[in-house]
């Protein structure tokens, strides 16, 4: 296939001293153009309008919005750049957006290529909520097993959940390494793969409907009064094991997800500090051929306080084109990068701001509601989790059940659509 990149705008000119007038003010801070070359997807042509370039200074967090790339003048530093524009062709408006992190701006800056993607009008399930933090027992100890994920039909028609796959990323958003070979632009590297069973029409979900995928589908209040009831969940990821050390409970009222792959022989739980990305996918091939053909061996040098370790690992890879939705999670103090292609997600969401933040328990990330249409919420889906999600929310199940929101067992009294907008 011929790749016809249309160069939308390329600024390779790096201003040396021309950004400001030396004679007027010797002390003025020099400013430079943004060294980013943006290209459109191959199949998108037409007239560009409504350009929006948002530049975030990595060191200060300050955001500035420009309406043309040529207008951008920045101090020396590191910036995250996101791009939005409409492309009109034959009266059809298509929305494109792009994202690139850690762009070096300065005298010696190199031009960075940014590929803008057409905003995918999702016609499948999206992740509505991820509750990865878990709850606390009365003693202050962590409780695992009540983590869950809610997936949502944001379309205007019935969706069938049969064969929909839930995955967890292998890589951490808090540790950036040069994984070689680098396949992130085409694949997501995953370490847990669970698929909703069914023949194709077994699990219909109405528009505005959701499915609850739980770790363990039991009433967790038996073991931890501060937890809640998940015996009504739609599915659970049950990890069958004959080893008492790896005991998982099979909630008898909740059907199990089909476990394709997991990195651990112990029970699987969502990353409790929220350092990974989660995604939904429609895998078009059967399980056996997927498992036989998609192992991915990569190398990197792990750099930690204890030293440097040249590593080699093997995991599974999942093509980006099969992924219908992805959400990166992290914490501000440790965030290093997104572990999915910007095509899938251009932001990240969080519970807590630092590593091992004790305040994170009893909180989830919930997708923002845009508006109510015929009584059903329409959720925001721009493939940018920073924009699309409300971080650090009271989980919907805790709101619905009115259970504890902290270690002292304080009952939840609020109820919201999306963690922010009250019902």
């Amino acid at each position: 296939m011929k790749i016809n990149f249309k160069l939308l705008m390329a600024v390779a000119v790096v201003l040396t001293a021309g950004g400001c007038d030396d004679k007027l003010d010797n002390n003025a801070i020099e400013r430079y153009a943004l060294p980013v070359a943006i290209s459109l997807p191959a199949n998108v042509t037409g007239e560009i309008s409504n350009e929006k370039i948002e530049v975030r200074d990595v060191s200060s967090g300050a955001k500035t919005v420009y309406s043309a790339l040529g207008d951008v003048r920045l101090k020396t530093g590191l910036y995250d750049v996101s791009y939005d524009a409409d492309v009109v062709s034959d009266g059809v408006t298509r929305h494109v957006c792009g994202y690139v992190q850690s762009v070096q701006v300065g005298e010696q800056a190199h031009t960075v290529a940014m590929t803008a993607y057409e905003n995918r009008l999702s016609d499948d399930f999206i992740i509505q909520e991820i509750f990865f933090t878990g709850t606390l027992q009365g003693s202050g100890n962590q409780y695992y097993g009540d983590d869950y994920v809610k997936i949502y039909n944001n379309t205007d028609h019935v969706l069938y959940a049969d064969g929909l796959t839930f995955v967890e990323s292998k890589f951490l958003t808090t540790e950036k390494y040069d994984y070689t070979p680098d396949i992130m632009s085409t694949h997501m590297t995953v370490q847990a793969i669970y698929t909703i069973p069914g023949s194709g029409r077994d699990y219909p979900v109405e528009p505005g409907g959701s499915l609850l995928l739980a770790d363990t589908g039991i009433d967790h209040r038996v073991a931890n009064p501060n937890s809640f009831d998940l015996s009504g969940a739609d599915f659970e990821w049950f990890d069958v094991s004959s080893q008492p050390a790896h005991l998982d409970i099979d909630g008898p009222t909740v059907p199990n997800l089909d476990k394709w792959y997991c990195y651990t022989q112990s029970f699987f739980l969502l990353h409790n500090r929220g350092f990974r990305a989660y995604a939904l996918a429609r895998i078009p091939v059967d399980k056996d051929s997927y498992l036989a053909e998609n192992r991915y061996t990569y190398e990197y040098v792990m750099m930690v306080a204890a030293g440097t370790f040249p590593m080699s690992q093997t995991s599974y890879k999942l093509p980006n084109k099969w992924i219908v939705d992805a959400v990166n999670c992290s914490v501000e103090a440790k965030y290093a990068w997104n572990v999915t292609s910007p095509e899938l997600d251009r932001g990240w969401t969080y519970c807590g701001t630092m590593d091992k933040d004790k305040s994170r328990y009893f909180h989830s990330v919930r997708r923002k509601m845009l508006y109510l249409k015929d009584g059903r919420p329409v959720l925001k889906d721009t493939d940018n989790s920073t924009e699309d999600f409300n971080p650090y929310c009271v989980p919907s199940e805790i709101e619905r059940q009115g259970t504890a929101i902290d270690v002292n067992g304080t009952p939840c009294t609020t109820i919201t659509w999306d963690g922010v907008v009250a019902k």
């Binding site: 027992q137 009365g138 003693s139 202050g140 100890n141 962590q142 409780y143 695992y144 097993g145 009540d146 770790d215 039991i218 009433d219 967790h220 038996v222 073991a223 931890n224 990890d239 069958v240 094991s241 004959s242 080893q243 008492p244 050390a245 790896h246 005991l247 998982d248 409970i249 099979d250 909630g251 008898p252 009222t253 089909d258 476990k259 394709w260 792959y261 997991c262 990195y263 651990t264 022989q265 112990s266 399980k287 056996d288 498992l291 036989a292 192992r295 061996t297 190398e299 990197y300 040098v301 750099m303 204890a306 030293g307 440097t308 370790f309 040249p310 590593m311 080699s312 690992q313 093997t314």
Partner: protein, 930 residues
């Protein structure tokens, strides 16, 4: 040419002497140089004859002899730190004389504040009281910095301190020291002897199942690791000899080397020591009394140490209390000199660790461990002056009783729910869900008892030209643990995922190590050459062992040889250059410990039914387990054997001495635990057939749809699977004191090249789950070379010591350079050689067909080629300062500051720049001598 001829002639002469034993002198004068205070023989003292000027050195027992023609002579005995003494002897027949020399404490003449290279046949380091008091140690561990290859370390009182001789120790990928359970033979195979009796740790079982090396109990676990040097106080030690080379056949049940500790046994003034440093406070008091006569001396001493692992943390600490009384009695009769030392010792060692409830998720997490050892020792020495062929009989006995108690208290919060297998029998049974938090209490009660008896006879034969000293002896060492073992509630396990079961230690059989030895020390003078040969043989075996063991009735023989050839002195200017060449070869054998020989049975529990009832979790849930009990005893376990040889060149020029040793040690059957896997079958019940609504009680198993399932599972077995090869060069150079600065220089150092690896193929299960089934349930790969590293290090310590007698000042500067540390991982092939298949329990070759299989492909382990590259940590240089100052008559003040200055250049590791820092360690002490 000429020289060669001479040497040849000497050999001929030697042979002739051996065959004919011609004597051409009037009489043999033999004798002993004794310490005036203790009455002990002084080894390596110099005895000179006037007129004639012949000189010799005493042997390890202080014995010497000359062959002289008739006449009157003066014999002068001298030794460093002693006042020389002279006696007159009129020779007309064979005579036995005693020269008594007195320690010169007033003079504070040159004292030796470093380790001195031993003058014996095997390479050894000797550390004396003066060196110890200048070093200001907290425990025995601190003395090791004086051995070649070692540098100073800040005391680590939060973990067991184990010894390593002549090796780098196991290192991590970045050259940092690691503690691995696979190479514990390093410390287990080093014998500690205190006043002739070994410190035996073979019956120690103070551990917590499943603990990791980061847990407080894991860091302090001494099981299979020999002696914890933290428990040894240095305050009552007179001298320490660390035998790095081939030990005499008299000592056994060791692989690496030995530490021979002699404690103070002489009249001493009341001494008191108070030490304080960043981590600890130490106080010790001791006195040696004369009981009526000078022949009987009683020594009483005690010490108390209170230390913290981190000075900011009050919750983790270590305390030690030692008390000792030793009675040294001597009776001299013309035909028999009797020396009898009896002693009672107590050592208490107490570890505490708690987590801070404000910093940790676990509110209650406590660890306490106490070790109380009482030992009764008796050392009886009979010196017979009448017979040459039998002149010394020694009976050494010791009985020790330890009361060890490890308690653990932890709040356990099961994650979701856990199961506690409670049955002690094999078969089907129901387990219990652990549904809520609980407090777990665990006690490990160990009471090791050791009884040691050794009897030895010595004698001599021959003439000055060819002289034999021989010894024969037998030794028995009984160890048994009488403790109650692991005591805890099976339904309240310390970890919610425990599958272990308790056992009483008193049910474990005893370990009886029986040895015998014979050794001859031959010395021959050929012209002005002296040749010394020590040839010994030691047997070691286990008595009373069940006949199923390979070791039952098996006797290991350790031949050991040490040879030393002293060349005639060459006079250069006014001083003499003396050279000697020494070498040795020997086998050393260490028997397995009780933990290796008599392991706890392994329980494999399989969940057959895991039914959790949502309506009534406590009343109607059911968890059915099938339990298998495996005897995990390795009846084929052999003893660990080390084969070592060394060559040493020694030189002295005036008061300058030099010693260079090359050594090579090989062991391929060191102990480790290796995993073994087998298929197990059980019934898996289908939970989906249960209708929760219709239940009124836990579901019955009958009638539930089920399938027979087979799964691989395994356990760890003691094996001889560790390889440990050590080679290197050790050197010590000590210069004479340079008068203008009153300073002497000692340079010690070593290059160590150590290889650690497994010596047999290992199983290594993968943890992945593919298509809903754990890969390791079906297949486990068997790999050639799974682990192993080759490490190198080279260091040199420069110790300048300045002694100004007039000011009562000793000042030392030790510049310690670790020139490099490198480590390289042995190449690993990640493709298994074969795999164990659950279907038939057999090994199958791992071929291309297997590699193409969706599940079997996961057995291939991948390694980053860069991980096999050599990692080098460049030079690290530290400067340590120490000073001792006499103030008035009674007080001596000592201070030390380790790593006051450092030079730690940055380096690059896999592309990352590494900056290093170090923390100084300092303290001071007061010593009163009243």
């Amino acid at each position: 040419m000429d020289r060669n001829l001479t040497i040849k002639r000497h050999w001929v002469l030697l042979l002739m002497t051996i065959t004919t034993t011609i004597g051409a002198v009037a009489a043999t004068v033999r004798g002993t140089v004794r310490d005036a205070a203790t009455g002990d023989g002084v080894p390596f003292a110099t005895v000179t004859v006037h007129p004639g000027g012949v000189a010799t050195a005493t042997d390890a027992n202080g014995r010497f002899f000359f062959e002289l023609s008739s006449g009157t002579y003066e014999l002068k005995a001298s030794y460093v730190g002693y006042k020389p003494a002279t006696i007159k002897v009129t020779v007309n027949a064979d005579a036995d004389v005693t020269i008594t020399i007195q320690e010169d404490s007033q003079l504070l003449d040159e004292v030796v504040i470093t380790a001195t290279e031993g003058a014996g046949l095997s390479s050894s380091s000797r550390i004396d009281r003066d060196a110890m008091s200048h070093l200001q140690p907290t425990s025995f561990t601190d003395l090791l910095e004086l051995l070649p290859g070692n540098v100073s370390h800040t005391p680590d009182m939060g973990s067991a301190n184990t010894i390593k001789l002549r090796e780098t120790g196991t290192l991590g990928a970045n050259g940092q020291a690691t503690e691995g359970s696979d190479y514990t033979i390093s410390s287990l195979g080093t014998l500690f002897v205190v006043d002739g009796a070994p410190v035996n740790g073979d019956a120690n079982l103070q551990s917590v199942p499943g603990s990791s090396s980061t847990d407080p109990e894991g860091k302090r676990d001494i099981t299979n690791r020999g002696v914890d040097m933290r428990t040894i106080s240095t305050d009552n030690i007179e001298s320490v000899e660390v035998v790095r080379g081939i030990p005499s056949a008299e000592y056994g049940n060791l692989t690496s080397g030995m530490v021979n500790i002699k404690r103070i046994r002489r009249a001493t003034p009341l001494t008191a020591r108070f030490k304080a440093d960043e981590y600890s406070k130490l106080v010790s008091i001791g006195k040696g009394f004369n009981l009526g006569t000078r022949d009987h001396v009683m020594n009483v001493d005690g010490s108390y140490l209170d230390s913290k692992v981190d000075p900011r943390n009050n919750l983790e600490n270590y305390k030690r209390l030692t008390l000792s009384t030793r009675l040294n009695m001597r009776w001299n009769r013309p035909a028999l000199q009797t020396g009898w030392v009896v002693g009672v010792d107590y050592t208490g060692s107490f570890d505490n660790s708690k987590t801070d409830p404000d910093l940790s998720y676990n509110r209650i997490n406590e660890y306490r461990s106490s070790y109380n050892r009482v030992a009764l020792t008796s050392d009886l020495n009979l010196r017979l002056t009448r017979y040459r062929w039998l002149n010394h009989i020694n009976v050494n006995t010791s009985v020790s009783y330890q009361s060890d108690r490890l308690t653990r208290r932890r709040q356990v919060s099961p994650q979701r729910a856990s199961v506690a297998p409670t049955t002690m029998e094999a078969g089907e049974h129901d387990g219990r869900y652990l549904l809520s938090e609980y407090i777990a209490d665990y006690t490990n009660d160990g009471r090791p008892v050791n009884i040691f008896v050794k009897a030895k006879a010595e004698g001599e034969a021959g003439t000055t030209t060819l002289h034999n000293k021989y010894k024969v002896g037998v030794e028995c060492n009984f160890s048994k643990n009488y403790g109650r073992g692991q005591v805890y509630d099976l339904e309240r396990p310390l970890s919610a995922s425990w599958t272990t079961r308790p056992r009483a230690f008193s049910d474990i059989p005893s370990l009886n190590v029986v040895s015998a030895f014979v050794e001859d020390d031959m010395s021959a003078r050929i012209g002005s050459h002296t040749l010394q040969l020590q040839a010994g043989l030691r047997s070691i075996g286990l008595a009373g062992l069940d006949s199923r063991y390979t070791l039952a009735g098996k006797l290991y023989l350790d031949p050991r040889f040490n040879l030393k050839w002293e060349f005639p002195p060459i006079t250069v200017g006014e001083r003499q250059l003396k050279l000697h060449l020494a070498g040795g070869y020997g086998l050393t054998t260490k028997m397995p410990t009780i933990a290796y020989l008599f392991p706890q049975a392994h329980y494999s529990d399989f969940i057959q039914l895991n039914y959790y009832d949502v309506n009534d979790p406590a009343g109607r849930s059911r968890i059915s387990l099938r339990t298998y009990i495996d005897d995990v005893t390795n009846y084929d376990l052999r003893a660990a054997r080390n084969s070592k040889w060394e060559v040493r060149l020694g030189a002295s020029f005036g008061k300058n001495t030099l010693s260079i040793t090359y050594f090579n040690e090989r062991m391929s059957d060191g102990y480790r635990y290796t995993a073994v896997y087998h298929p197990y079958s059980y019934t898996r019940y289908d939970v989906s057939a249960i209708d929760p609504a219709s239940l009124t009680a836990p579901p019955a198993l009958d009638g539930l749809p089920s399938e027979a399932v087979s799964e691989l599972d395994g356990y760890r077995m003691a094996s001889n699977g560790s390889r440990l090869n050590k080679q290197g060069i050790e050197f010590t150079l000590a210069t004479a004191r340079w008068r203008p600065l009153a300073t002497a220089l000692t340079v010690t150092g070593a290059w160590f090249h150590s290889t650690y690896s497994n010596s047999m193929m290992l199983y290594d299960p993968v943890s992945e789950v593919i298509d809903g089934r754990r890969v390791a349930d079906s297949y486990i790969g068997r790999y050639d070379y799974v682990d192993g590293r080759v490490n190198d290090q080279f260091n040199t310590n420069f110790m300048f010591d300045t002694q100004i007698k007039r000011w009562g000042l000793i000042f030392s500067t030790s510049v310690q350079c670790m020139w490099f540390v490198t480590t390289r991982k042995l190449w690993q092939n990640g493709v298994p050689v074969s795999y164990l298949d659950v279907a038939d329990g057999q090994l199958h070759p791992y071929d291309e067909t297997a590699q193409a299989d969706a599940v079997l492909q996961s057995l291939v382990r991948t390694y980053n080629p860069a991980s096999f590259n050599r990692q080098t940590v460049p030079m690290a240089l530290y400067v340590n300062l120490k000073a001792t100052k006499q103030v008035g008559k009674w007080l001596k003040i000592a201070v030390f500051a380790n790593r006051l200055i450092d030079y730690l250049p940055d380096y690059t590791s896999n592309g990352l720049k590494i900056r290093r820092t170090s923390d100084p360690y300092f303290g001071m002490e007061l010593n009163f001598t009243l």
